[in-house]
Amino acid sequence: MDAHAKHEGPLPPMWHYGETEHDPISTKTLGFWLYMLSDALIFAGLFAAYGVLAQPMDAAGGPTIAQIVHPIAAFWQTLAVLSSVLAYSLATVALKTGNRGGVLLGIIAAIVLGVVFIGLEFSDFATLFSIGATPDRSGLLSAFYIIVATHGLHMMFGILWMLVLIPQIIRSGFNTAIVARLLNLRLFWQFQASVWVCVYVFVYLRGAIQ
């Protein structure tokens, strides 16, 4: 009892020979993009936790959010991360013509600016630690640190990734695997800029309002 009607005329071919359109670069970037969505949901969870714990009572008598966020100082971090993302993105523009020097220059600039960002963040944390605003002081501070530090950890992994790519580019040039990695890293690095927009607005600026 099959619902299929008999095929009219001669049968079409049963098997497919030749190329199937499985493009390895698109496969890899799609897979990486899906990973980025799951990463974005990690941040969604962290922001939900922050939304719950960023109430005055969660300061437990310690520093309030307004006392620990400095949006003007954090704007320097904004400049650092955005220019790092721009540098890397311009490196991928150089990739279009296979310009090895241009690509490497952009990556190195991105690394330097990324390190500046991390340095600014570390010094901010050091100042906070020195006034006793540590993550174990209160729920509010725990929530603040986990969001900012998770973003910072992502930045550090990206910098590591860039450092690993440099010898690979020098050694093997732009083969399929390395091009796919460069594209994935672009997705990853630009994502850090998007996350920073949310962190800056909803942690630093919103915190300063209260």
Partner: protein
């Protein structure tokens, strides 16, 4: 995986490599820095009420995220990007649900009645209230 029987096309010719554009990246960067600067000014000015400020900077951030999706990630409905766009659009409601419903339910728990006051911890209305 290199296959000697099917030599690969030049990876640099791939659409996702070729879609990179200086204009998109530079304008996206300038837009982000400018609008975040605007948000910073609005916040630091302290002449507006907290709630309108919050609404404004939230709106700015959403605008920036959409702009970055188009200018940085180059999301469109072309063959190479359509699945990225579709998957992002389908994920956005999940952000709204998880964060929004969480904030709503905790807000609905009502004022904290049973917690004894600790020194230096006066009960204050929150921004959400």
């Amino acid at each position: 995986m290199t296959d000697p029987h099917h030599p690969e096309p030049d990876p640099l010719r791939h659409a996702e490599v070729q879609q990179a554009g200086t204009f998109g990246y530079v304008s996206g960067t300038i837009l982000t820095i400018a609008l975040l600067g605007v948000a910073l000014l609005i916040t630091e000015q302290k002449s507006m009420q907290p709630t309108p400020v919050l609404v404004t900077i939230s709106g700015l951030s959403i605008f920036l995220l959409v702009a970055q999706a188009m200018l940085f990630f180059g999301l469109d409905v072309s063959r190479y990007n359509i699945w990225k766009s579709v998957s992002l659009i389908l994920t956005v409601p999940l952000f709204i649900l998880s964060i929004g419903l969480t904030v709503w339910m905790f807000h609905a728990l009502g004022p904290v009645m049973a917690m004894p006051e600790m020194p230096g911890m006066p009960l204050q209305p929150t921004v959400l209230q």
